[in-house]
């Protein structure tokens, strides 16, 4: 019933968008794992003329069709997990900042002590005896926490300015454009596939965090949330059971847009030659081949079209929801 209702509600181009995205996901699933060796007998072959390479080959003799399929896998493997990680980080940071503000969380002295003392001692010891440190310092933290519960009974907690900390981190990350930040990071340490994932999620979480903070602030002021707080429920439970169900939709509408943004960003990086390592196939790298051989229009047409359709479809999804 609901599926039928859905199919009559959505306009035709919505279905086209979904169809194209399904196609990309299918290509990502079915793409051959190892790329076949370059065909040196047929360099820069135009499409449709060659029986074996019907989408043409590039100047290195790589089959464009196969590179497209494998690039689709890279697109899916990079953008979707990176978006999920970004949203997870942003949601946690944003809702904590919005809910705890600057005074709500009063860290007990034993907690502060059991975090700070092992940290400080680890810094003082420095990078020596790593195994012993890894074993002993957590034990020290546990002991301090358990012992501190008796010693510090009745002490007031110290308010932790969570909001200020999170907003400070956001403005620090936002003080440079994303591309410049990633360029510098890639210069220091050339990222692998997982490294790029981590780098993207560590730099892109600011927008979802801001959205979640605003949504949390709005929901927190509603009577039912105040009632939950007055009933004395713990903060984690209020956030998880009562705040999140009303805030996470904010991120849902952003999801396709963020995926599209990350796809565009990843291909830009690969195009500039600073993104993924050279052995990982990517649409951006395929497109970069046009700079060496400007007459090979098929190097621009196929990956460019695929990229464009993917981003357009994602934006359409975001608008229709």
């Amino acid at each position: 019933m609901r599926v039928a209702a859905l199919s009559t509600q959505q306009p035709r181009h919505w279905w086209l968008a979904v169809g194209w995205l399904t196609l990309v996901c299918l290509a990502a699933l079915l793409a051959p794992g190892a790329s076949s060796p370059p065909d040196f007998a047929q360099l820069s072959q135009p499409p449709f003329l060659n029986a074996r390479h019907w989408l043409g080959t590039n100047a290195q003799g790589l089959d464009v069709g196969q590179a497209l399929l494998q690039g689709a896998r890279t697109v899916v493997v990079v953008s979707v997990p990176a978006t999920l990680l970004t949203f997870l980080l942003g949601a946690v940071m944003g809702s904590l900042a919005g809910f705890l503000q600057n005074t709500r969380w009063q860290a007990s002295p034993q907690l502060l002590l059991s975090i700070l003392l092992p940290l400080v001692s680890s810094v003082i010891i420095g990078p020596r005896w790593l195994v012993a440190q890894l074993l002993l310092l957590p034990c020290l933290a546990m002991l301090l926490w358990l012992g501190g519960r008796q010693v510090f009974r009745g002490w007031r907690g110290v308010p932790v300015p969570v909001d200020t900390l999170v907003m400070g981190m956001i403005s620090l990350l936002d003080s440079l454009p994303l591309l410049v930040l990633v360029l510098i990071a890639a210069a220091v340490q050339r990222p692998s596939l997982s490294g790029l994932l981590l780098l993207l999620s560590l730099t892109c979480w600011t927008t979802p965090a801001r959205l979640m903070r605003a949504a949390t602030l709005r929901v927190k002021a509603l009577p039912y949330a105040e009632a939950a707080e007055a009933a004395g429920l713990p903060a984690t439970q209020i956030i998880r059971r009562h705040i999140w169900p009303n805030t996470w939709q904010v991120l849902l509408t952003r999801f396709p847009l963020t995926v599209a943004m990350l796809i565009g960003f990843e291909t830009t990086l690969s195009f500039l030659g600073v993104g993924l390592p050279p052995e990982v196939p990517s649409w951006g790298r395929l497109l970069a081949g046009i700079r060496q051989s400007p007459t090979d229009w098929w190097l621009l047409a196929w990956p460019g079209l695929a990229l464009l359709l993917t981003i357009l479809s994602l934006q359409l999804l975001a608008r229709r929801k």
Partner: protein, 346 residues
């Protein structure tokens, strides 16, 4: 007002200092002294003999400010943590920064400031032209569209489609369409900066503009949709207000109601986008300058990243952060000008 501006400025300076310090420490910690010196020595064929080489190594380390420990407190494998006082790279770098120097480039035989200045001669016209044109076009397009409801949906659809094209794809398409001897070669594909010695100063602006047309066009096309869509949304909201009905009832034409009454109110929410526009143009100039081979700051950044020329990287990043600060100050000022009712002081 002044207190707010002061606080904003201090906050911005603190943020920039934190960002730059983090970048400096991270990149310096990643610098491999041995390979760097080796590379420079190999590039210098005149050096012969060990004593001379040692002396030159010392000289180079001093020039790059690498001949001392990294930070006030530094880890030494033998002795543990050591306090070095002000005799460290970070302190030296901060002192130099206060004097307006950003150090010496690892790759090119020049101070970073000099390189940045040379690059800005191209990037400044590029970004400013792109920003000016996209603002102007966005305002005019939004005004034009709001007076013609039939054309509006079509223009908006085109803008939405345009928004989904990544900058590099758009720039490549423009390059292959308009600077290609096989299609139409109206514009040059590359070559700014080489022939400049041969033309006189009267021809120079024209020459620069000729070479900047395609890069500016691609930047404008990428930043135009967001601005126009935002402004159009704001205009539509304002046009449904009662003061517009009053204005129309008093006999103002639709275009007069839009231009004289609605525009100023609609501009207000769009000013926020200005803070994003300039930094995003700087980021966009990385792509455009690499593609069109302009010797500007974006290409300097990309090349410095590729060759791990860290002083240049940190310098260019600092300049970008500064641009963002300026954009923020500008947006604050424009808020006041657009709507005197707003008092930003808290």
């Amino acid at each position: 007002m002044i207190r707010r501006a002061l606080r904003q400025g201090l906050r911005g300076i603190l943020l920039t200092w934190l960002t730059l310090s983090t970048l400096f420490l991270a990149t310096r910690a990643a610098t491999d002294k041995a390979t760097l010196i080796q590379g420079t020595l190999e590039g210098n064929a005149r050096v012969s003999g060990l004593p001379e080489q040692l002396a030159l190594t010392q000289q180079l380390l001093h020039r790059y400010n690498l001949d001392r420990p990294l930070f006030y407190l530094a880890w030494q494998p033998a002795a543990g943590w050591q306090w070095h006082g002000s005799h460290n790279q970070y302190h030296q770098w901060l002192l130099q920064l206060a004097q307006g120097s950003l150090g010496y480039s690892y790759q090119e035989d020049a101070p970073v400031m000099h390189l940045l200045g040379r690059a800005l001669r191209y990037t400044l016209p590029l970004t400013l032209l792109a920003a000016g044109f996209s603002l102007l076009l966005a305002v005019h397009l939004a005004l034009w569209v709001s007076c013609r409801p039939t054309a509006r949906s079509l223009v908006l659809a085109v803008l939405h489609a345009l928004q989904s094209i990544p900058l590099f794809l758009l720039a490549v398409c423009l390059l292959l369409l308009l600077a290609n001897p096989d299609v139409v070669a109206w514009f040059p594909a590359f070559g700014l900066g080489d022939a400049e010695t041969e033309i006189n100063w009267l021809q120079q602006p024209g020459y620069l503009l000729y070479h900047l047309t395609l890069p500016v066009l691609s930047l404008v096309l990428v930043s135009l949709p967001a601005l126009t869509i935002q402004l159009d949304g704001a205009l539509q909201q304002e046009l449904s207000q009662k003061y517009i009905v009053t204005a129309r009832a008093k006999g103002a034409s639709r275009s007069r109601a839009v231009r004289q009454h609605a525009l100023r109110n609609a501009l207000l929410p769009s000013i926020t986008l200005l803070t994003e526009l300039l930094p995003s143009l700087v980021a966009g100039s990385v792509v455009v300058e690499v593609l069109f081979a302009l010797p500007g700051m974006g290409r300097l950044l990309a090349e410095a990243a590729a060759t791990q020329d860290y002083p240049v990287l940190v310098g260019a990043a600092g300049l970008t952060a500064l641009v963002r600060l300026l954009a923020q100050a500008l947006a604050d000022m424009l808020y006041q000008m657009a709507d005197p009712r707003i008092r930003l002081s808290q």
